[in-house]
Each structure stands twice: as structure tokens, then as C-alpha cells.
Amino acid sequence: MAKSIRASVSKRNRANLRKKIAGPAVDARTERLAAKLQELASQPKPQAPVKSEMELGAGKTADQTQGDDKATATGEEMDVDTKLKSQKKPARVQKGNRKPRNSIVFQSRFKTKKGPKRNFYQRPRSASPARVEVAGSIMAILQCGWATLFANLLLPVGILFFSSGFFPYKPLLPGLATFNDVERNAASPVFDKVIFMVVDALRSLIRAGAALPFTAHASSPTVTMPRLKAMTTGSVPSFLDVILNIAESDTTSNLAYQDTWLAQLKTRGDRLVMYGDDTWLKLFPGMFDRADGTTSFFVSDFVEVDHNVTRHVPHELAQSDWSAMIMHYLGLDHIGHKSGPRSPFMASKHQEMDAVVNEIYTAMQHEAHLQSTLLVLCGDHGMNDAGNHGGSSAGETSPALLFISPKLQALGTQSESPVEPLGDMQYYQTVEQADITPTLAGLLGMPIPLNSLGVFIPEFLDMWDSETQRLQILERNAQQLLNTIRTTFSNSAFDDDSLASGCASSADSGIEGAQCAWAQVQQLRSSNIAADKEFSTIGPALMRFSRTAQDVMSSTASNYDVSRLYLGLMVTGIAVLLVSRTVFYECARSAHTGVFLAFMIIGYGCMMFASSYVEEEQQFWYWIWTGWMFYLHVRFESSQPSSSGNTQSLLARFPALATLGLAISQRIIRRWHQTGQKFAAEPDIARTFFPGHPAIFWGLLILTYVDAGRHLFESLPFAILPRASALMITALAFMFKVNFVAADSPELLVNSFISRAMEIWPYNFSLVWQARLVFGGLACYVLLAFVIRKQSGVAQTPKALFHESLNLFLMMQSRATNIPLFLAFRVQAKILSAMSLEGMEVTVTTLILQYMTFFAFGGSNAISSVDLSSAYNGIGSYNVVLVGILTFVSNWAGPIWWASMSNLLHPQQIPGVHSPAALSTFHIAATLVSVMAACTALRAHLFIWTVFSPKYLYTIAWATGNHVAINLLGSIGLSYL
């Protein structure tokens, strides 16, 4: 108390002194300054000469002096550090005449936590401070003028143009295929029932009995929904289906109105039943007469998801009313995701699947109504060596495919089993996944679905005795392919006369190849061949046409509208140019940071053209961050006065500690998750260390929650009792996380003290309501933050309250193993704020940190790394918008944290000096341009759909979600605080 009085008295004295000595000069200067600023504001060219910068600094002091005065008058307490700094100020400003740059340093150092922000647009002094503040902060966002605003408006436009050209639209034939009269009685069905057993992520590892084994080639993206589409429609799903796989309920992914073999069965009046993954139910609403869907919600569930399917099997095998039973087992996929293909659970799971197959096969042998039933056992996709899928490695694209039926013994083919793979995961003859559709259609005696691109698997032709029937099957397949190819290439002629001539010279592949193959078929048809030789001559020709047509049509999935690609590139390029002027002046003002930024952006842009650098993008950010840390070290080292006073903090006395702390925390963060491709399987902290050391994990987790609770507690502006609500909310959030871990990753709870504590704990709420309670509490705090800014005299800044609430929210949305990272962030933020960086340095720092932490949380540029585990927190039923937002937040938790922190780290300064918006806009626009250019230039690249397109999608998310929504709108929103 005494101290504060003494402080305020001495402060007032000093202020008076300052007023007397510096006052008159300052007043005159303020006058000039106002005029100058007016001029500056009207033309925001920040190339103001050094002299005017100095004047800005001086002017700020003048203003500040009066502000201090006010603060003293209202009797606010002032901490010693600020006071000491302000004490030194006048002297330094005087010196500023000789050292013009000093003024800038001084401004950034000068951080008052109290009192309203001052602002030079505050011409009439009587204006309410809050309003001016808001106006000022909006000006601060847009201070670089309309250029930045326009650039940000152009970004989505460019993205839209580019995407419309990049993700091609494939024409689909509406309606269902039907037989004409001739076809109807041509080839009789071989089977009348089919059991379609999908084992999610079953790789090509099968033992074959009375069965035909294949290795089905699943084209990328190897995610469940597109694969199911491929297997049922026979088409090659477009890349966009991956996104729709995540936005599950989207109606465009609905196959109810498309022609599938399921639809064919249904229109025939047959009954279908389905057990397993509820993706089927979403794809085929109303298709099944009996169904029991299983959600793949907790990936740690290895047993229940499969039991849910198997328990229906005996019952359904006894029924005779269905003609197609679909079973989709998820357990294998879960094991893969959780612990990889070499998991100890794998063998027992395979045995379990074996037992199911055995049960069905025995039933097929003995039950009369299952006499002519075909069992198709297949994987929808495989998995890579880390147990994930979505990409195009051999393991992912080589699922097993097995046709089982006692009838197949008639074919007389004997396969050895087990066999050594011929090539990479290629155990048996490879067919396309799309081939399942026409094969099934042929075997079940149905028309081939209209949009199918599959080719009948020729091994099954021997199921028909008569060659005319075999030929009929091939003919049907070829005709159907010809129809689809005619729809797509409407300008290419497939008429007989135009073809016969130009065929000799044309190539084997491409649309010309297909035309040529068809011409050959026509030629053979027109020539008179003996009836018994028809099949052996026309058959191969038909097969050849079908294969070529399949190749042609599969590759039309990558038909680009190049002019739109260039248009998108151009629009984004204009956005870059719009902000480049501001950025250039920014860089020119702080040359070193500018050079570093230019180096970073150019390096990052070049990197986008190399597939392995795109896959290993995290390495770039870790690398560039070490370089930036080195810069910060040098910068901090040299900015420290050598004779530091004894009142200074530990960091100031040992500046080396600052960068050392940064470096150590960064090194830990770097090892948190091994993402990317090359080093993905190497041990890391989150997935290798923590499961082995649960005590350390839980200790860190609790420490993080304690830290979060303490900060939230301190940021609340009330007396002790209401502030305790912060602790309650934090405890609740912790409880939620523990319960979530118990459900999602129980391996973390094994042998830990938490599991013992949980056994004693009597209460059990639903996860949804726990999450809702926490979210509600945090929302109240955010509202509160907006309320308390209106009341003057509140010591705690509402921004801190907002940040702490956000911190807890992000912890809710992060995987448990990632939560201790927030502790590391806290350490880094503390160090960074002690370094008192300049505005531009803060912008670059947080920019790098945002990207770096995205990868530290386990993100990568592969679609498969999208984390959906926290997407349903507090949500009872599926809701596209909410799930989308929660998914984004849980994947971008690190970047969001640093975006919010950057608002706290930025030195409070006058507008016009530095605009983070322009810099980050420049960065993201330049990134977009380079990614678009890479996608345009490398559109024929082998990895375009597996590496570059996912990167493009991620860049869209970075640009629209992280840049526009979080960084720009977020900082505008926070400026109201």
C-alpha cells in the first residue's frame, strides 16, 4: 500500500517535471504531428523519412505523459517495471535526436497495460475512448488501406476459379440401366444371392479355398466412402469425394439416385440387408430392408464394432428372403489406425474374420436356399506401414478381393496359398476395384450399372457353358462402356465409317486407342466368322476395347480446365501484387526481418514443387524456426544493455537463457509427433513415449490443466469466490478429457494412477453434457470479456481473459496426448513476451509458430491425418456446420492458439507503423500462388492426386480458415476488447 502511494506520488512529480520541461515543446510538436498524420493517413505510404518517425516517437511520449497523468489521478496502481521504464523515457527521447532508430525501439518496449489505448486519430479529445479505440483498431487492421482488404476478397475468388478447373466434373448418366429384350434372355444368372463382406482395410493377405482370389487395385484416395462408391457403381470416384467422406452427410455423396448393383437388385424387387459400417446407410438411404449400422466413433473399439455385425450372421443365414447381404467389418481398420499392421491384435482379428467366412461357407454348402450364393470377401482399401490409409502406397491400394462359392470349383482353378507377393503387395492377379461391379452384374444376371467403368473379370467367363453366352457378357460390358465413353467424349465419333481408316497409325491408348479397338470389333463383326469361332476371335477384341475404354475413362477423372487454372492463378497473383507494396515498405523498414521473411516465402514457394518436401513440410518449418530463433538470439543478445540493472528479471540478466528455453521447448515440440511420410514410423513422444510412461503423461496433463486453471483464475476480474468458477470449469474440462481418454485411447490409462482414481469415482455423466457444460462456461467468459471492456478501471485486460478461455477450449478440442504442448506454448510465449519484439518480428514469429505447431499436433499434408476424434464434442447428432468447425479447431488448435497469442504479444502502438494483416495476407497469397502453380505445372505428375491435391486442399483451409477467419476476423474481433 505504502509502496503504491509512494509510487504514485513520485510518479506525479515526475509527470509534472516532464510537463514543465518537455511540455511546451511537445505541444507544438503534437500540433505539427497531427497535421503530418493527417497527411500520412490520407496517403498511407509508410516511407516516411526517418525524421518523421522520430517525431512520431516523441509525439507518443507527449500523449503518453498525459495518459500517465490521468492514470495517476484515478489512483491506479502501477507496477514498478513500467514505472522504471517510463522514468527512463524522456532522456532517451532527447537522445533520439541523434539516434532516430531508438524511437522505434522505445515504442515497442513501451508497453502500458493500463489506461486506454491512445491513438492519433483521436483528434477531438472529448471523443469517447472506447469508440476511438475501436475505430483505431479497425484502422489498424485496414491501415494498409484497401489493398489488403481487396487482396483478401480476391483470395476466395482465386480459390474458386482454380478449384473449378482443378477438380473436374464428370458427366454422369442418370437413371438405371435396363436390359433390352435380346439381352434379357441371353446370359442366364449364375448366382442368385450375394454376400458382400467388406473387411475395412483388409490388405492382400488371403488364403484361398474354393475361391478365386485377386488383388484389387484401389485407386487413390483410399478412404472408405470413395472406395465403396467404386465397388458399387463401378466408377472411379473423383478426388472431391474425399472431402465428402469427411462431410459425411452431404447429399451429393448420396448414391440413392445413382445406378449401382444394389439399385439394380432393388429394382428387380429383391431384398437387401446390411450390417456394419453405417457409411452404407448414408450412401444408400432406404435401400436396405434390415440393417444395423455401426458408427466408427471410437477407433479404440476393436471388438464391439465387429461383434455388432457377426451377431446377425446366423440369423440372416437362416433367412431366405434376401438376395444380397452386406457386411462391413471395421475392427481391422481400427486396429490398423491404432497400432499399425503388425499389431498383436491383428492375428486374432484375422482369425475372427476367418471364422466368420467359415461359418458362411459351411452354411452355403449345407443350406438349400444358399445353394447358389456367391460370397465376395474384400477390403475396401489397405493400410500403409503406419496403419493409416488415404494415400497411394502399395499397401494402401492393394486390398484383398476373394470370390467364394462351392460353385466356383467348377472352374477348376487351383490357387496356391499362401503365396509370396509378385511385386509390392501384389499377391494374386490384379484387377481394378471397379471390375467388381460388372462381374457381379454378370454373375447375378443384371444389367451393368450405367456409369460403371469396370471390365468383367474374364476368369468368370467359364461359369457359362455356351460361348454365345460368354460373348454376350463381354458384348454387354463393351456396349455399356461405349455408352459412357460416348457421353464423355461427345465430339469423338464412334461410327463405323469414320474409324476404319485412321486406325492403323493411331496409338494404343487414349481416346484414339479406344476408337481403334472399337473399330476392330466392328470389323470382326462385319466379317463372316464361323459361329463356333466367334468367341475366340471377337472376345479378345471386346476385352481389348473394354480395357482401353476403362483406361481412358479413368484418366478423365483428371481432365483439367486449364484456362480456369490460369484464371485462378492470375486472380491470386493480383492479390499478391496488391499487398506487395505495403509489404515492401514494411520490409524496407526493418530490413533484417524483411530479408528473412523474403527468404522464407521464396523457400516455401519453391518447396511446393517437390513432392517430398510437400510430404515433409513440417521439416521446413522446424528448420526455418531454428534459423529464426538464431536471429532472435542475436537480436536479443545485442539489444541487451551490457550493464543490466539489478532489478531486471532473470531473463534480462542471462539473455542466453531466453533462446535456450525457446530452443529446448522447440526441440521437444518437434519430437512430439513424427508426421509426414519418410519418418512417420519413427518413435515420438505422443504415440511411443506416453503409452509406455503413463505416469509422466498424466503428470504433464494435470500440470497443464493446473496451469490453464490458474491463468483463467487470474484473468477473471472478480473477487475470489466468483473467480473459483474458473477452477470448476477447468476441473470439469479435465474430467471430460479423462473420460474421453478412457473411451478413445484406453491404452493410456493402463497401470496409471488415474485409472485407479476413476474406479473410485462414483459419478458418471455423458460425455456430450460434460462438453456442453465446459463450452457453455467458456462462452460466458468470452461474453464477459466483451462486457468488462466497457467498464473502465478493470485491471485485467479482457484480451487475456479471452485468450485463457480459448486456451481451455483448444485443450478440449485436442487429443489428450497433445495437451501438454500447451504448456510448452506457454513457456515460449513467456519468453517471447520478455524479449519485447518489434511488431514485424512478432508477426513473423507467430506466423512460423502457427505453421510449426500445426505439424507438432500431428497434422500433415495427407488427407489421412485429419483428426476427427474431437469433432463431436458436445454434439449429440450430426451437424455439418458444428462438426466442421470443431474439426477445424481440433486440427488447427496450435495455429489458433498462436493467432490469439500474437494479439497479446504485439506491442501496442500507433497505427500505420506495422500491419500484421498485410504481411500474413502476402504470405498466404504467395503460398496459394505457388501451390496453384505447382498443381498446374505438375498436373501430369504421378503424385498429383496423392500429394499436390491434398496440399492444395490444406492450403485452402489455411487461407480461408486460418488466415481469413482466425487471424484477420479474429484480430478484428479482439480489437473490440
Partner: protein, 292 residues
Amino acid sequence: MASATSSSAMIPPGSPIQAPAEKPGAPPINILPSKLSQVYSYVHPVLLLTLCAVRFEKLVADPVQELLRDLPWLALLQISYVMLCLPPAGSTQATETVSDGEEKKKAAQRSPSSPSMTLRPGKPGYRRKHQSGKLDLAGALAKIMPAFLSLAISSLIATPILAVLLVLFGAPLTTHNPETVLCAAHMALLSATALVYAHGVDGHIWKEVWGIARPVDAVWGSALGTGLGAWFGAIPIPLDWDRPWQAFPITILVGAYVGHALGSLVSRAPLLYGKRIQFAPVGTEEAEKKTN
């Protein structure tokens, strides 16, 4: 380029960046003026690079063995380099040239384009000293002591520090420990030997080294080049070429050797010599690249 000139030519009039330079720092180190020294100072980087190139295949085959085997040779090369080309620490130079250095700096500020002219005043001093050293064996012996001392210090103190720095900059911690330590040993010999030999254990100078605030000279340039080279050496590691040389210490080490050679040569270019790098290591690096 532009940044280097701007950082050195524009800053001097008393900016806060230059503030620490107000204290009289140690002047840049000159290569000894004798013909042998001058020639060998150019041959030395080439020798190092040759060593690196000749042993490269062996290095890829068995990094630990090869790094260990090359260590004595590197030490020998470094010792002969410092003894032949550099003035030892604590010699008359320190007291003699402080004022010289100040003068030089000011001259350099006035006419940054011709600092080689301003180097002359320092020369007679060296020559005198060197001639006296040439006369008797005692002078040569007087150099051996600091040379071996610097070797010992750099291998005993700089190696652990560099190993820690390597780990902090991303070297694996749980595996490849022998590789990391040996890589650090090589880098220590490359960078620290000459620094210790020329500056001794003067705390102030080492503070400048730690703060990257030394004026550019062959000694400091090669040390900084070693670090930057190692940093840039990490670039090819993530590529999916699956070549054996992409394994951990190799690219870093080659980068360090190349950076050392470039640094020691480039830092003697008249445009850069004697200037203090402040705040912008990367900017300087780019400048170095462009001057090449």
C-alpha cells in the same frame, strides 16, 4: 548484397543496433602477411574440401568409423593452418592494434569500397612480429603451445557445446549419438580452433562470438560459415531419393565443410572484411552467396 551494405553502411551513425559496437571490440584478425601464410590460407580450404571429397564414399559407408579416422587429419590440418597463417592470441597484436582497429573501422565507414587500403597501417606490426618469429625456433615453439591448447579447448569444450546445439537444431537425441558427437567434434575443430588460437579465452570476444557480433574476418567468417553450412546442409535430408548419403550426419557435415571453406574465403573479400554482421545472419548468407 543490398542488405549487407545497408546494414553496414547505413547503420553507423549511432543507431541502437550499433550500440554494442561503441565499446572498442577486438579488431578483425588478419592472415599473416608472409607469402607462405597468404598462399596456404587459400590452399587450406581447398585441402579441407579435398579431404571431404576423397573420404566421402567411406563416410557414407560407415560414418562413425570414418569420422573418427578423419579426426586426427583434420586436427593436423587445422593446427598447421593456425600456426602458419594466424597470429596467436595474447601476442603484441592485442595491445598494439586496438587503436589501429578503431581507425580502420572509421576509415572503412568513410569509404567502404576500399578497406584494403586501410589495412596497411596494421601490416608493419605483423611483419615485425613475424620476422622476429622467423629468426629463431623459439618463435615457432611459442606458436605450438597455443595451437595445441586451442586444439584441446575446441575439442574438449566446443564439442559438447556444439553437440548440444546440434541436438537443439534438430539432430536426433535418442539415436545416432556417436554420429552427433563426432559431427560436433568436426565442426568444433573447423570453427573453434582458429577462434581460440587467435583470441584465446578473452571473455569479451567470446561474448561477441556468442552474440554473432564479431567483425568479419577469415577466422570468424569460417566459423560462422561452418554453422550456416551445417544449417543449410539439413535441406536434402527429407527428400525421398532414399540415397545412403541422406543419412543424418553426412549432409550436415559436408555443409559445414563447404560453409567453412566459403566463409573463410568470402569473409576476406574487401566488401565484407571488417564489417560487423548484426541482426541478419541469413541476410549475410545471401549476400555471401551472391558475391560468389
